[in-house]
């Protein structure tokens, strides 16, 4: 049972990881937690669902993900244009980004509620069975897919950031946008690229979460608290730290809930988080966000 719980914890953590990475990528550059990410995930879950529903024979899962990812990028660019660009140009304090991100999250959720709130939607199953066994251990098919996707996303992002010229530019802008401009880097373009990456992540997350749960307006926002916690524990802005923290969070949550119940588990969980941040405020990654991406 203990190993089964561990696997379940990893599965749950993989869901949190998906959210946490979206947080971390934006925080790494702009130093604010983009709560609009949750609303964008919900919007992308709807887009993916209606895309699938538009065909008599549903297109392959990969096609849906690609379509939703493109829509996520466009949505992110729209959000950046509508909410963040002017704040950036005026070099306003980060609190304005924070307020704008919450406003956008609420706005998206309400728009979805007005237009689609009368119905709940469910993605068609892509696996014949919701679980599979290896030995006596039971794995959730969708959760396993989410974990694999999270790890692939991490690998791709780490490669982009550490192994490409655009990644070098992102790291430079993360350290100092003004200095990067002096070095000939167009920081505005880099920031737009980062938002596009976050939008792509929202697109992928929307489809995956829609497949795991139902599609409803608060799907993304309902996951944001745990995703945000994971990104903080991971070391705000650290992609690898966010994924490690998310999976650790899932494991701890599963064990605590099993042992002491769902009512008491959050008390201990948040207590552990407070102690952890007191001992290691820089998070798992060990570096403050301002020093790195």
């Amino acid at each position: 049972m203990t190993f089964q719980l561990f696997i379940s914890g990893v599965s749950l953590g993989s869901v949190y990881a998906l959210i946490a990475v979206g947080f971390a990528i934006v925080f790494s550059i702009l130093k604010f937690s983009n709560f609009a990410h949750g609303g964008m995930i919900s919007a992308c879950a709807y887009i993916g669902y209606f895309f699938l529903s538009a065909f008599e024979t549903p297109p392959p899962f990969v096609v849906t993900v690609i379509f939703t990812t493109i829509c996520g990028v466009l949505l992110a660019l729209l959000v950046d244009t509508a909410a963040y660009r002017r704040i950036r140009r005026k070099q306003a304090p980060n609190i304005y980004y924070f307020l704008a991100s919450i406003t956008i999250a609420i706005l998206i959720e309400q728009i979805l509620s007005v237009f689609f709130g009368k119905n709940l939607y469910g993605y068609p199953a892509i696996f014949k069975s919701t679980t599979f066994n290896i030995g006596s251990i039971r794995f959730s098919s969708v959760d396993t897919l989410i974990l694999v996707v999270s790890l692939v996303i991490l690998a791709v992002l780490l490669y982009v950031i550490n192994g490409t010229r655009i990644g070098l530019a992102i790291r430079t802008v993360a350290i100092s946008p003004s200095t990067s401009r002096l070095m000939g880097i167009n920081s505005d373009v880099i920031i737009i690229v980062v938002f596009a990456i976050a939008g792509a992540l929202a697109g992928i997350s929307g489809v995956l979460l829609g497949m795991k749960y139902s599609v409803y307006p608060s799907l993304g926002p309902s996951m944001m608290i745990k995703g945000f916690i994971a990104s903080v524990i991971g070391g705000l802005g650290s992609l690898g730290g966010a994924i490690i923290a998310a999976i650790a969070l899932g494991i701890v949550e599963i064990f605590l809930t099993y042992w002491i119940g769902s009512l008491s588990a959050p008390i201990v969980l948040f207590g552990i988080m407070l102690v952890f941040l007191a001992v290691r405020p820089e998070g798992i990654s060990g570096r403050f966000a301002k020093d790195k991406v």
Partner: protein, 411 residues
């Protein structure tokens, strides 16, 4: 830039206008809170009777609240087209409580103090309804609704009925007794576990009586697992229950959470019976990822026949809803109970007179499902003649109403 600002403002205005729809009265082509819905049989020239409706049309229970509100609106449209209350048209004022007791109190004050309503149709929500008990008594405003937790209609300490609160369907307790009775007698269930939302009065009010019935009738409760609003996954609880392997598991919460709980239990390897509250009706069947098997739940109506079928047909066409939901009938039934009392009153706007009729002379009011609603004067809830269907899903995952049951059990 000006174009962008103009576009953004247009979007915001459109959104605000749409968001405001929740407080408007739509049927019959009328709109805006407080608009009259004139009847076609000479009711327009008489002084209208103002009634209020408070539903959750944008909060966590809006999936149930919106069809509930439609049922109220349609009942008002129907009564006005059929002569009104003794010739007087009914004027509906609607408010959105967002499943929030505090907002519900504000809604109540607006309806009573500003709109001047003489009665209110309440939501299928116990938290806001509980907050109106004393206000309604003070203002002499009868409230008829589907707040199924018994603490909304009777004082839990004394057992006496609150004078102005009336329920128009079987309470949570009665529903749970019926479900437990079916499980123990028909499915031969001896051991059970429960998985429910402790933050939701609806779920808590189902779980307690279910456990009570099982224990009182020789059954054994192996586990009482819980979750809260912020939980999105119940795998740990499901694995605990699966390890105990009870004969049946009771699930209690709104549809979304029921779906997750069902899938978590089946994913954890649990193969026994899963029993559910009446939120297990569609769209539950189109959302679960696992095969629906050995799944039984209480259902207020057989949605395929009678008035409820007609109501659903109209509601789904008018609102673009994809699946039938019992809540349409809830709004309708509450209105029928209130209209029945108002028709008997010399002055249908006299809260005290209508209250007394609701209490003592509400007999055999036909519900949307065809059952008769008779209010028990001592509890202000339907008498035990009114029961529930035990339903399941057939091979094509359509709802199959198996049997109509009542229960005389009292804890």
């Amino acid at each position: 830039m000006k174009k962008i600002i103009a576009l953004a403002l247009s979007v915001l205005m459109l959104t605000s206008a749409l968001a405001g729809c929740g407080n408007e009265t739509k049927p019959g082509g009328t709109s805006g809170a407080g608009t009259t819905q004139p009847g076609s049989q000479g009711t327009a020239n008489l002084e209208p009777i103002k009634i209020g409706s408070i539903q959750d049309t944008s909060g966590g229970a809006s999936l149930a609240g919106q069809p509930n509100q439609w049922g109220v609106e349609y009942a008002v449209r129907w009564i006005n087209e059929n002569g009104g209350i003794n010739g007087r048209p009914v004027e509906l004022y609607s408010r959105d409580c967002q499943n929030d007791a505090e907002v519900g109190v504000t809604n109540y004050r607006e309806l009573v103090d500003e709109a001047g309503v003489c009665a209110i149709i309440g939501p299928p929500l116990s938290n806001p309804a509980s907050a109106w008990v004393e206000l309604a008594t003070e203002d002499k405003i009868p409230i008829v609704g589907h707040f199924m937790d018994e603490v909304c209609t009777t004082d839990p300490d004394t057992g006496e009925a609150y004078p102005y609160m009336f329920l128009a369907e079987p309470s949570c307790s009665v529903q749970s007794y019926i479900l437990a009775e079916y499980g123990m007698n028909e499915l031969n269930v001896k051991t059970v576990a429960t998985l429910y939302n402790t933050s939701n009065a609806y779920a808590v009010a189902h779980e307690g009586p279910f456990v009570n019935y099982v224990e009182a009738n020789g059954g054994q409760v192996l586990a009482r697992e819980t979750f809260g609003w912020t939980d999105t996954d119940y795998t740990a609880q499901a694995q605990k229950i699966a390890a105990l392997n009870p004969d049946a598991v009771l699930l209690c919460d709104y549809c979304n959470q029921m779906v997750t709980a069902y899938d978590n239990l089946r994913d954890a390897g649990y193969t026994g019976y899963i029993l559910g509250a009446n939120t297990m009706y569609p769209p539950f069947n189109s959302l679960v990822k696992n095969e629906i098997k050995d799944c039984y739940f209480v259902q207020n109506y057989d949605l395929s026949a009678g008035t409820i079928a007609d109501l659903l047909d109209i509601q789904m066409k008018e609102t673009g809803t994809d699946y039938p939901t019992s809540n349409v009938g809830f709004g309708w039934d509450a209105c029928m109970v209130l209209f029945n009392a108002m028709k008997q009153a010399k002055d249908p706007t006299d809260g005290e007179e209508v209250r007394q009729i609701l209490e003592n002379n509400t007999k055999d009011v036909e519900s949307a499902g065809g059952a008769k609603i008779t209010i028990d004067p001592s509890t202000h809830r339907p008498t035990r003649d009114m029961g529930m269907y035990i339903a399941s899903y057939d091979e094509d995952v359509n709802v199959d109403c198996l049997v109509y049951m009542t229960s005389d059990y009292n804890s």
